[in-house]
């Protein structure tokens, strides 16, 4: 009936209980894989590695007589030398040779024997022949079902039963939008028995703005989208406009042919639009470097090689990368073909060392997002409200803030003393000289520095009182410009990309100054040259004797280079900064302190002469500006209007009570800007003097040989008549009707999204080493239908999800599971764990936390510690994305595809669930089940907070426990709870209530996770108990599984 497909599929074949039937022998399906795996390496397409001048991949060579010997004589086993050598017991004769470590199995030998006996019929590789629309097998079924059922029938299997409605709506919602339905949507769908209900649901979901997000996810993997440059220092880049473009393209149902053309050659289209330029970022998503010392030509070679590889795997289903160093061993792709494709991309004006300091590597443009959204009026309205809220003094907030400030001022300077430390050492990574210190607490950082951190190792004086903080005094240096504190900015060039220097136009410019961008402190029993990233003292408050308006002392609490402390230029004499630790340090516990001063604005903005002290008692400085201090000092009734304004302004900027409003405002202003302002994005272009492309010997950039021009693969149909020899021509070739690969590869990739596995199980490899399709006719039918529909993606998706094959139940009998464990025959509904992003999104949605805004810049939700700084070049580079700073407000709750993707340290809760690191093109993610995943969904603050918020929704839903449990279960799983399940939940609830009733302290701890507000009307112990139930539900296997 069905012949085992290939060595590595024998197991599958065995499970399918099929037996060989001679009549069905198909070269492409049955023979080529065996020859490819075992023979083509030495007897195939690549002439350099070819042995004995024999090719077994083409009949002419295989059948030819050489010195009286014929490798394959059709119909004549005895006369076929290849066959005799396969049987040989002489290791020198045996094929494949023992040292290849290849070995033919008995079933494989049988197949080859049959094939030769039957006349050794060769055929062109299936995927290199353009697809023809096959006849749909007879019957009443739609095409998809007809082909699938035909195969099932051949295997003696019947289609599975239909999934129930709850399963269906969950499956479809996850597949088309990446979000599960609400309990109410699930119930409504379940009870809607009208015949068109499912079709209506499909249409509703296809029209959702989240459709584009769901479809984009796979394409972002393929296109290796990320927010950092990847190599080496892995600094930040700006590419989210391209991500917006992809989402909008799917939502607009842009024809796939245009989707590819604009991404490959949008810049070359006549009358190109800004959107089409943004689209070309597809082939700029590759990793880049500005690592000092690397060679630009080598880097550029790597970039273009990555572009070819990505094009091959994501669009053509060809492992083109295999032909960089030599002709492809298995597929008819020459090294020349490879470099002709390479040449299409080698004409960009990109440079081999580029992309530092948060500035995109060129070429890039400044453009506005293509995202269309109706949220702008609402955002503007809310911004206005928040401005009004923050502008209008709120008596209660002001009173509370004043009270707090007064108590701080009452404490100000109480028991204060500053004690000089003894400096033991000063170091910086990139300099060997110019660092001086005396026997006391004075440090001289002469001549500025590279981008740089300075670590000062100190010994503490003998103290009895607890150490409450640290003071840094910066002295003016007469030799520096204007007798200032540092060299910049009047002289010297600020580092590339550094933020604006601390210069106020209204002030005298000719005075050297500095910007202290961050301050880190480690206290220890012994001296350390360097701070310990794992033991940084938490700093509660920073004050200074003076600061320029945009450089307040608190600026150095944020480790990034963008913010920092810089004194007003008008300040005279020494200036000082005082940091108060969150927890006073007992002088018995520590003897030493290491202080890291980061002057991240670069060479000219380093303070030269510093003095370090530890502080006991309460800081005698304030973080309030003098005008605010004056206003506070004045009796409330006699304050001038200016004083009142000063007070409220300070309160609005600092009050804890208004924190949420400030965060919301900042986030919304950023959102509005993202939707309306231009931003950087990388694009493709053609250099004014494009580089020549050469075939590189062994793929080595340093060994150019023959010069080549842009061109396509000789073994595939030629470029269409009149197509230009540039990327636009390449795009035309890729999307022409006679290209045998593009539509098949696309259809297969979409299929994989809905069934977990493609019709071709190797979606990035349609070559000789790829898998034979499980349903070749269906694949071709879909490919032709796709092209003839005008490459209509939603049409394709509709065809698939409307099929009964898609709508089968995923339940399977043990017998079927054993027979077809991977469901390749599609005798049941697809079931697989959902991708990482959807797991987090599902939890956020259950918690009612999800902020469903589409598109925009990436965000940094909760991540434990600063995982970036542990591996990055922080302090030694102007590159961005070196230290992690968590966002707040709505940015904690955006969909996971917007989480900032740092390639060298990707988000750990996504990586645990098989998300790729986005360094290279990924077509199929893994699908593992691991304990680390359990730790994420049980303990990650993001999920713990989601459980807390979900519990709140449950409690508010109804006063009745049973109804709450029913609703919660439905919300989590989309289906009705069963009595046995309800029983488990009830007893769990009773137990958790009991637990928390007795322990108020524990309740407070449990409810403390996450920044979203808690509804205070819910009794805390009750909330805590329900939170455990919510966590239980969110951890159900069913919740992370798409059934």
């Amino acid at each position: 009936m069905f012949i085992p497909v290939r060595t590595r599929s024998l197991f599958l074949a065995a499970l399918l209980c099929v037996s060989a039937r001679a009549a069905d022998l198909d070269y492409n399906r049955d023979i080529r894989p065996i020859l490819s795996e075992n023979c083509f390496h030495c007897h195939g397409f690549d002439e350099k590695s070819r042995k004995a001048e024999l090719r077994l991949d083409v009949a002419e060579s295989a059948f030819a007589e050489r010195d009286g010997v014929t490798a394959i004589k059709p119909g004549d086993l005895a006369g076929s030398d290849a066959w005799q050598r396969i049987l040989s017991s002489d290791p020198d004769e045996l094929m494949p040779p023992p040292k290849s470590h290849l070995k033919l199995s008995e079933p494989e030998k049988n197949l080859l024997k049959l094939w030769i006996e039957q006349g050794a019929k060769y055929a062109g590789h299936w995927s290199f022949l353009p697809p023809q629309r096959p006849e749909i097998p007879e019957g009443k079924d739609g095409a998809v079902d007809a082909f699938v059922r035909q195969r099932l029938k051949d295997e003696g299997l019947a289609p599975g039963g239909a999934a129930n409605r709850a399963e269906l709506i969950r499956r479809l919602s996850l597949d088309l939008t990446g979000l599960p339905p609400s309990a109410e949507e699930a119930v409504a769908f379940e009870s809607d028995s009208s015949p068109g209900a499912y079709g209506k649901l499909v249409e509703r979901l296809l029209a959702s703005p989240h459709f584009g997000e769901r479809m984009a996810l796979e394409w972002l993997d393929a296109a290796r989208y990320a927010d950092t440059n990847g190599f080496s220092i892995d600094g930040g880049r700006h590419m989210w406009l391209w991500r917006d473009w992809v989402i909008q393209a799917f939502n607009d149902n842009m024809p796939y042919e245009r989707f590819l053309t604009e991404q490959l050659a949008g810049d070359l289209l006549p009358g190109r639009t800004e959107a089409q330029l943004i689209a070309t970022g597809f082939q700029r998503n590759n990793m880049v470097t500005h690592e000092g010392g690397t060679l630009p030509e080598e880097n550029l070679t790597n970039y273009n090689a990555d572009r070819v590889k990505t094009l091959g795997e994501s669009v053509l289903g060809l492992t083109l990368a295999c032909a960089q160093c030599h002709n492809h061993k298995f597929d008819p792709i020459t090294q020349k073909d490879y470099f002709q494709i390479f040449a299409f991309f080698n004409s960009l004006s990109d440079r081999g060392l580029d992309g530092n300091a948060g500035i995109n590597p060129g070429p890039y443009i400044s453009a506005k997002t293509v995202l269309r959204t109706d949220e702008i009026p609402a955002v503007e309205k809310r911004i206005a409200e928040l401005h009004a809220l923050l502008a209008k003094p709120d008596a209660a907030a002001l009173a509370a803030w004043e009270k707090r400030q007064r108590s701080l001022l009452d404490q100000r300077g109480k028991g204060f003393a500053a004690h000089p430390v003894k400096v033991l050492n000063v170091s910086t990574p990139n300099r060997g000289s110019g660092l001086e210190f005396d026997a006391g607490n004075h440090v001289r950082l002469k001549g500025g520095g590279e981008m740089g951190v300075f670590d000062v190792s100190t010994e503490l004086p003998d103290l009895r009182a607890p150490i409450t903080g640290l003071r840094v005094v910066v002295h003016p240096v007469p030799e520096l410009t204007g007798g200032g504190w540092g060299a910049g900015p009047a002289e010297g060039k600020p580092a590339k990309g550094a933020a604006k220097p601390a210069e106020d136009a209204s002030q005298p410019a000719k005075k050297g100054t500095f910007v202290l961008t961050s301050l880190s402190v480690t206290a220890d029993r012994r001296a350390n040259d360097q701070i310990n990233l794992h033991k940084l003292e938490r700093i509660a408050r920073v004050t200074a004797s003076s600061w320029a308006p945009s450089y307040p002392p608190s600026g150095c609490l944020d480790p990034r280079n963008e913010s920092g402390w810089s004194p007003e230029l008008s300040a005279e004499g020494p200036v000082r900064l005082t940091a108060t630790f969150a927890r006073p340090i007992s002088p018995e516990e520590v003897r030493n302190m290491t202080v890291q001063l980061n002057f991240g604005h670069g060479r000219s903005l380093v303070a030269e002469h510093l003095e370090l002290f530890v502080v006991t008692g309460t800081d005698d400085d304030s973080d309030l500006a003098p005008a605010v201090l004056d206003a506070l000092a004045a009796p409330a009734e006699s304050r001038s209007d200016a004083q009142k304004t000063a007070l409220w302004t300070a309160c609005a900027a600092m009050s804890e009570d208004l924190n949420r409003a400030r965060i919301e405002l900042a986030n919304l202003e950023e959102r509005l800007a993202a939707l309306t302002q231009p931003f950087q994005t990388m694009v493709m272009d053609v250099a004014s003097k494009p580089r020549d492309t050469f075939i590189l010997n062994r793929g080595d950039y340093a060994q150019p040989t023959e010069k080549v021009s842009p061109g396509t693969i000789a073994a595939l149909p030629p470029m269409p008549e009149g197509a230009p020899a540039d990327r636009l021509g390449l795009a035309r070739w890729i999307t022409m009707r006679s290209n045998p690969l593009t539509a098949r590869v696309a259809v297969n990739r979409f299929w994989k999204m809905f069934f977990g596995t493609g019709i071709v199980g190797t979606p990035a490899d349609f070559g000789a080493q790829g898998e034979w399709p499980t349903h070749p006719a269906l694949l071709d039918w879909l490919a032709v239908e796709f092209m003839e529909s005008g490459w209509d993606v939603k049409h394709l998706v509709r065809l698939v999800v409307m099929s009964e094959t898609y709508r089968q139940s995923s339940a399977a009998s043990p017998a079927l599971l054993e027979r077809d464990p991977q469901n390749r025959l599609l005798g049941r509904g697809p079931r697989f764990r959902v991708p990482a992003e959807l797991i987090r999104d599902t939890a956020l949605k259950a918690g009612g936390l999800l902020v469903p805004r589409v598109g925009g810049p990436s965000v940094n939700p909760y991540t434990p510690g600063d995982l970036w700084r542990e591996v990055s070049h922080y302090g030694s580079t102007p590159a961005t994305a070196q230290a992690f700073v968590q966002d707040h407000g709505e940015k904690l709750y955006r969909r996971s595809l917007y989480t900032f993707w740092k390639r060298t340290a990707p988000p750990p809760n996504m990586m645990a669930f098989d998300a790729p690191n986005r360094e290279v093109c990924t077509i199929s993610r893994g699908n593992t089940t691991t304990p680390l995943q359990a730790l994420v969904t049980l303990n990650d603050p993001q999920f713990v907070e989601a459980a807390r918020a979900f519990a709140q929704r449950i409690v508010r839903h109804s006063p009745d426990d049973a109804e709450r449990l029913r609703w919660a279960f439905r919300e989590a799983t989309s289906r009705a709870v069963k009595p046995a399940e309800l029983e488990v939940l009830r007893s769990a609830l009773a137990r958790e209530r009991e637990r928390f009733r007795a322990n108020a302290a524990r309740v407070a701890e449990v409810l403390s996770v996450g920044e979203s507000p808690r509804d205070p009307s819910i009794e805390p112990a009750e909330h805590a108990a329900w939170m455990q139930l919510a966590s239980l539900l969110l951890n159900l296997s069913e919740v992370v599984t798409r059934n």
Binding site: G293, G770, M911, T928
Partner: protein
């Protein structure tokens, strides 16, 4: 690639992180419960199933410890002194030696390439009389255990490609790390800890050092369950290990029991083996919540042991502390333990930086090797003290200035191995009089990888994973040779 077979193969290799998602039928749960049965199944043959069949031959080592010195450790200063360097000190490196090999963009524009002898004197150590710098007194004291390979070479001359090459067998991203290959091939011997653990520490010579990347311990194209799990200082040594605030172990146990009950009901209804696997994964997670803190709790270590590792051992996250944890991991049969110590990139101020870097690692490294020896673990633990490349014999920057350093040098560098499978007390390979070019027994990174696998009983040529049509190997597509001359 055939996912079913791959999965079955991983399953039979009992990966701790259980790569057993889809389509294994009832086998999934069974395998986790009855590893012995699967071990038996693994050794069976005759059914046409491809299998890794590992080990290929009797291994000498069961585990690997890789002490990776990130940034490019100076072989010239620390391991490869030559009389000529002193005779030629300050003079131009002869062009015949320097040849036409490429230099990095950092020194290719220099007008002079003066020879700089080792910073500090050293002494002949061990029975083989190998020269080791006085900056490394601890390592001097374990010379008898070491096989020092002085003829390592690599094509990479910059950090990202260099460190990626050494750790994944390729200069470009997208490949699987050494540790993930070993996890994939041999699985775990400890059901409560991951098979591959990675730890990062910061160097005090140069801080920040060159960046390191998760790809260096990533799984590349191998299933992600083989990626190295990071161990960090603090209350959650493995990310998200700790229960949320206010949730204790007893409560978590009760919740997991409820969860298992609910999952079981559904799994039976749907004949869903993946859910059964997930139940097991939750149980492993629960066990990790005690096995990991038990691992990182060093309160039971004797004062003598702590003292041996040096004062930094009490500093969480330090190289010394990671060394002690490495021993505790190896004791627990963790298959592959890798330390990354940053800061070895001495372009600048080598006279200040290098002694600090050496101080970071010298005493703890020596203590770790001695500790392994003393506990009988060194016999079947392969220790690899590695770096991505060496440093130039000529100065980068002005000779004699405090800012002077050395540039990257891929053409020759030094690393050492010890323990299971390796002949102790020997030098292997040699560079020329200027420790610039290799004159004897060159060892490429691929050869090193082949040798590491060999010690584990694996033939690198037969240890493959099918990806994108290719039988990929740690040693890549080019020839690689086991360094037979260093095997015990």
């Amino acid at each position: 690639m055939n996912p079913i077979i791959d999965r079955l193969a991983h399953l039979t290799r009992r990966t701790f992180l259980g790569d057993v998602s889809r389509g294994i039928g009832g086998l999934a749960l069974g395998s986790l419960l009855q590893p012995d049965l699967l071990r038996a199944a693994q050794s069976e043959g005759g059914d046409g199933l491809p299998r890794l069949g590992l080990p290929h031959f009797a291994p000498k080592a069961k585990r690997v410890l890789c002490l990776f010195q990130s940034g490019g450790l100076s072989h010239v200063d620390l391991f490869d002194d030559k009389p000529m360097l002193h005779q030629h000190a300050g003079k131009e490196l002869p062009p015949s030696v320097k040849g036409s090999q490429r230099l990095t963009g950092m020194t290719s524009g220099q007008t002079a390439y003066p020879v700089v002898p080792p910073l500090e004197p050293g002494k002949r150590c061990g029975k083989q009389g190998t020269w080791i710098s006085d900056l490394l007194p601890g390592i001097q004291s374990i010379a008898d255990e070491l096989c020092i390979i002085k003829s390592m070479h690599t094509e990479a001359i910059n950090h990202d490609p260099g460190i990626t090459f050494m750790n994944t067998g390729n200069q470009l991203p997208g490949y699987a790390s050494m540790g993930s290959w070993v996890s994939y091939g041999l699985g775990t011997e400890n059901q409560n800890l991951p098979a591959f653990i990675a730890m990062v520490s910061q160097g005090t010579g140069k801080n920040p050092g060159q960046p390191v990347f998760s790809r260096l311990w990533g799984s590349g194209f191998l299933p992600s369950s083989h990626q190295g799990v990071g161990l960090r200082p603090g209350r959650s040594p493995v990310l998200f290990l700790e229960n949320p605030p206010g949730v204790d172990r007893e409560q978590r146990r009760a919740l997991l029991d409820d969860l298992a009950r609910l999952n079981q009901i559904r799994a039976e209804e749907m004949s869903d083996p993946e859910t059964l696997t997930r139940i097991k994964a939750y149980e492993m997670a629960f066990r990790m919540q005690t096995s990991v803190p038990d691992l990182t709790d060093i309160s039971g270590e004797s004062a003598a042991t702590l003292e041996a590792y040096g004062p930094e051992v009490r500093k969480p996250g330090s190289y010394a502390s990671n060394c002690l944890l490495a021993r505790r991991l190896l004791e627990r049969d963790v298959r592959f333990v890798q330390l990354f110590h940053r800061g070895w990139d001495q372009h600048i101020a080598i006279t200040r930086q290098l002694p600090n870097q050496c101080r970071d690692i010298d005493q703890p490294t020596a203590a770790l090797v001695k500790d392994l020896r003393q506990r009988g673990l060194l016999d079947d633990t392969l220790v690899v003290f590695a770096t991505e490349f060496g440093r130039t014999v000529f100065s980068q920057g002005q000779l004699g200035s405090p800012g002077m350093g050395r540039d990257h040098h891929g053409r020759s560098f030094t690393l050492w191995m010890a323990g299971g499978g390796i002949r102790p007390g020997m030098d292997y390979g040699a560079t020329d009089d200027f420790c610039y070019n290799i004159v004897e027994n060159p060892v490429h990174i691929r050869d090193l990888h082949a040798t590491i696998l060999h010690c584990l009983g694996i033939d690198h040529a037969r240890f493959t994973h099918k990806f994108r049509g290719l039988n990929t190997r740690l040693t890549g597509v080019e020839e690689a040779h086991v360094v037979k001359g260093i095997l015990s």
